[in-house]
């Protein structure tokens, strides 16, 4: 049940580990809505796991405040701290942390031990949770006799069995191989929708974040640098870091040429062209990004229309990947990369016209370092 009601609120969370000069999490604010799938995305060391562990109560913030469903979990100023086992928050760990001395069922029963339930109800709920993750037949197996994917499911069953208010997931798919990871990604999403739980997910994999999340917070060096739904982050990242982290791998220098009536024009190595609107003053030096997959490549003989941005060039290299084809196209004295489908494959030396739309050409002021 997704609502706009904020379930989890974090304010000014800051954490510095002993013996480190810089805070690993530096004053971040968070709000996660009821029923939402919320992802913390960032490179390793950006503070995403520490943030998750502060929500769990496994890490104590130096200062800050966390509130869940109106209950204060930690407030350093007021001296309030609820220990993890009193928070009613469930978590899936990166290493799965399946207890090797217990069976599958015993692992899943454990979180129910502290609830007031009779043995029959407990058993029923644990088995239900195992059914949910497709491990109904494995209840009596030793936990260490399972494959990685199955252990992952046990960890998931153990986390959902209590029906806790919040489900935390710390890179749960990172130890699986690629095929299994894609499959589990879908299952995880479906499961979260079915049971309607609110999930906070940590990953460094942008594709995973996009596929799973309602909203993504991108973290860098202890700060949240951008937050929004996956499509917006991908199309209009907040800054060059986010653009690069989300895989915008074609960038070049540019200068703001003019700002007239809400239309931004950039001077690029490929000429003066309209771009996604921004509020930079004319003359500002920029980094401009244009994703190879946002460029269409047509033989010049098929030139048609004049809308959007158009460059003339010559194909220099063709890299055939099967599902996609990449071209290196010479435009003036520069090379532009283009990713296209193999529906029609162009030849090296072929004169082409490249087309894109202004909103895909995004620019950020050059960081003065």
């Amino acid at each position: 049940m997704r609502t706009e009601r904020p379930l989890l609120l974090g304010q000014d969370l800051t954490k510095t580990y002993d013996g480190q000069a810089r805070p690993v999490v530096n004053g971040i604010d968070l709000d996660v809505r009821q029923g939402e799938f919320f992802t913390l995305l960032g490179p390793s060391g950006c503070g995403k796991t520490t943030t998750l562990r502060m929500i769990a109560g496994l890490e104590r913030p130096d200062h800050g405040r966390i509130e869940l469903d109106g209950q204060v979990l930690i407030d350093t100023a007021a001296g309030i701290l609820v220990p993890p086992h009193k928070r009613d928050i469930a978590m899936v760990f990166q290493s799965y942390a399946i207890w090797p001395h217990m069976t599958v069922l015993e692992n899943v029963l454990f979180p129910l031990e502290t609830l007031r339930l009779d043995a029959h109800q407990r058993d029923k709920r644990a088995r239900q949770a195992l059914e949910r993750v497709g491990l109904g037949a494995f209840a009596d197996r030793g936990a260490t006799q399972l494959s990685g994917g199955q252990q992952q499911r046990v960890a998931l069953a153990r986390a959902i069995v209590r029906e806790a208010r919040l489900l935390l997931l710390d890179e749960p798919l990172s130890n699986l191989d690629a095929a299994l990871r894609e499959q589990m990604r879908v299952e995880l999403r479906d499961l979260q929708r079915q049971i309607g739980t609110t999930a906070v997910y940590v990953t460094h994999d942008q594709e995973e974040a996009m596929a799973l999340s309602d909203r993504v917070a991108v973290m860098n060096a202890g700060h949240i640098v951008d937050i929004g739904d996956p499509k917006r982050l991908f199309m209009r990242p907040a800054d060059a870091f986010v653009a690069r982290f989300l895989g915008a791998n074609q960038e070049f220098e540019a200068t703001v040429e003019s700002q007239t009536a809400g239309e931004t024009r950039l001077r690029t190595p490929f000429g003066i062209v309209p771009a996604a609107s921004n509020d930079l003053a004319p003359g500002t030096k920029c980094r401009a990004f244009l994703r190879p997959e946002f460029i269409e490549c047509h033989p010049r003989s098929e030139a048609a229309g004049t809308d959007g941005i158009r460059f003339e060039g010559t194909v220099r290299d063709v890299l055939f990947f099967g599902r996609t084809v990449a071209y290196r196209v010479e435009v003036g004295d520069r090379i532009l990369e283009v990713v296209s489908t193999p529906m029609r494959i162009l030849e090296p030396g072929q004169p082409v016209e490249l087309r894109t739309l202004p909103e895909h050409l995004i620019a950020f002021a050059e960081q003065v370092t």
Partner: protein, 573 residues
């Protein structure tokens, strides 16, 4: 529900840390301080008035001191070198080669640990003493070798026996590093054109160096502090090392009053050296894995093909087991069946009987001794387990105060000779009569608990470190409180390791000689002191019978320990 931040997590931890600090301080620091104080008192009693440096001056001025130091160092270095050589060879042969019957050999490799060093020494006296030694007799009968060619009552004899008795420990410490050495490193070297010897010299040995160095320091410290072998072989030959000299000062002093002040000052001098060594070892052993026995690894590394060396190596290995296990046990059994001690000859088979066993069984003192031994071993093992795992869990898995002090205190006894612990406890319990344990078996229990605390905490630390923190955190996220996590997750996970430590201490408390001997009173005779008594009064055949019984019990304990220890490693990842 919500609690104030600082009191919530801190108060129980401060309490636990304080309790551990108090118990360890009482067990370890108090006796040592008393021992050191006694060095500066006129008559060597820690609580008498006055202050003197005369014992220290006398110790340094003692013309025998250089010889004592030389003997101690030679003995320790020699036995370290021999044990290390045997340990490295065993580790490579048993872990990395395609030796025939490899698993059988690996099982047998630790069995020599079942023979107490004192009994190994006695067995070798029976084999190699100049007059009655069976090997000497047979060599002279068959080949006309001059009688007494080999004399076990010598420094080299002591080194030979101690080296063999430490070899299984050396093997245990090196087996895991040797078998864990990634095969790919070797393969990369091979593909870079390096032959087997070059790979050994340039890749394998350098990578093993930290493990070898740390094993060497451990063995060296043990060599410096042991009593059993120097006591059995060195005292009759009047070749004294530190531990036997201290024993002598207490039991056979020159002017028949125990030379307490001199013991104190000698202890003081050696403790400084031992503390330095102990600290080095402690630093090297931060990860503490080396104490943990071999893991039950599922995938074996690629094995070296021995080729034409298979037979010679097998013969050599068999010879090793003959020397460390079969021959000593055989001569003990042989001797135990004789009605009287005699030079070995086939004619003796006619007169053999079980009278020695019968005598031993009939004697009410031996029954008492057996009972005492078992109580001492049971209680010491349980106390060590309790304390070590409390220390390990506190030190490795909490952020409580005084963790370093607690860790160091628990480790310190490893570098303190058993005779010194014994002596120090005499001071403590002669002074405090609040606990009337002097002359009872309980003072031996206290000595063993202190002595084996170091081994216990090292093992426990090693296992505690290996339990992934997320296993515990998963418990907290499942709504379990601290106590439930201990009970349901942490303790079950380390249970096999607990059993392994328990059995190890049990076996060592049955076999160790120095503390019971130092603390011997009329009511606390244990098996080893009884045995020592028979041996030193010339009742060799009865001593041999007791020895056979003891080895039997220890063989079983060793086998249990081995299987518990290897099972312990499969759970904790």
């Amino acid at each position: 529900m919500a609690k104030a931040i600082d009191r919530s997590a801190r108060a129980p931890l401060v309490l636990a840390g304080g309790a551990l600090l108090l118990v360890l301080g009482y067990l370890v620091a108090v006796p040592l301080v008393m021992l050191v104080i006694s060095a500066f008192k006129p008559n060597g009693f820690p609580f008498e008035s006055g202050f003197t440096l005369k014992h220290l001056v006398a110790s340094f001025g003692n013309p025998l001191l250089p010889e004592l130091i030389t003997n101690t160092l030679l003995f320790s270095l020699g036995s370290t070198a021999l044990a290390l050589l045997l340990g490295i060879l065993l580790a490579f042969l048993l872990e990395r080669t395609d030796l025939p019957l490899r698993n059988l050999w690996r099982g047998a490799a630790i069995l020599p640990m079942a023979i107490p060093p004192m009994l190994l020494a006695m067995a070798w006296v029976l084999l190699l003493s100049p007059r009655i030694g069976a090997i000497n007799v047979l060599l002279s009968n068959w080949f006309g070798v001059a009688p007494g060619t080999f004399n076990i009552y010598s420094l080299s004899g002591m080194i030979f026996v101690e080296g063999m008795s430490l070899a299984p420990s050396a093997y245990l410490m090196l087996a895991a590093p040797v078998s864990n050495l990634a095969t790919t490193m070797e393969e990369a070297a091979a593909l870079s054109g390096a032959g087997p010897l070059r790979r050994l010299r340039r890749i394998i040995l350098p990578m093993l160096l930290p493990a070898i160095a740390s094993a060497a320091i451990y063995l060296f410290i043990v060599g410096l502090v042991v009593f059993d072998v120097p006591g059995s072989l060195g005292i009759p030959a009047r070749i004294f090392v530190l531990s036997t000299h201290i024993y002598n000062l207490a039991h056979n002093p020159p002017n028949s009053i125990p030379a307490l002040g001199e013991i104190g000052s000698l202890s003081f001098i050696f403790l400084i050296a031992l503390a330095a060594l102990g600290l080095v070892y402690h630093r090297m052993g931060r990860d503490a894995r080396r104490f943990v026995t071999i893991t039950g690894k599922a995938t074996a590394p690629r094995l070296w093909d021995l080729g034409i060396w298979r037979m010679p190596v097998t013969v050599g290995l068999a010879l090793y087991f003959v020397l460390t296990l079969i021959l000593p046990i055989a001569i003990l059994i042989w001797t135990s069946l004789l009605p009287y001690q005699a030079r070995i000859s086939p004619a003796l088979v006619e007169v053999m009987n079980f009278d020695n066993y019968a005598t031993f069984m009939r004697n009410s003192r031996s029954f008492e001794a057996m009972k005492n031994s078992i109580i001492v071993a049971l209680v010491s093992a349980s106390l060590v387990v309790l304390l070590s795992f409390a220390v390990a869990i506190y030190v490795t898995r909490t952020k409580g105060p005084w963790r370093t002090s607690i860790d160091l205190l628990a480790f310190a006894p490893m570098a303190i000779p058993g005779v010194m612990i014994g002596m120090a406890l005499i001071f403590v319990y002669l002074t405090f009569d609040a606990l009337p344990v002097y002359g009872t078996i309980w003072i031996i229990v206290i000595a063993f608990t202190t002595e084996y605390l170091a081994y216990g905490t090292r093992s426990a630390n090693g296992v505690a470190v290996q339990v992934h923190p997320e296993l515990e955190e998963a418990g907290r996220m499942s709504g379990a409180g601290a106590w439930r996590i201990q009970r349901r997750i942490l303790i079950p996970l380390v249970l096999p390791a607990i059993l392994a430590v328990w059995v190890w201490v049990f076996a060592h408390a049955l076999r160790a000689l120095s503390a019971p001997l130092m603390l011997q009173g009329k009511d606390n005779t244990v098996m080893v002191t009884l045995l020592w008594g028979y041996w030193n009064t010339g009742e060799i055949t009865i001593a041999a019978a007791i020895g056979v019984v003891l080895v039997g019990v220890l063989l079983i304990a060793t086998a249990v320990w081995r299987s518990a220890a290897s099972r312990g490693m499969t759970h904790a990842h």
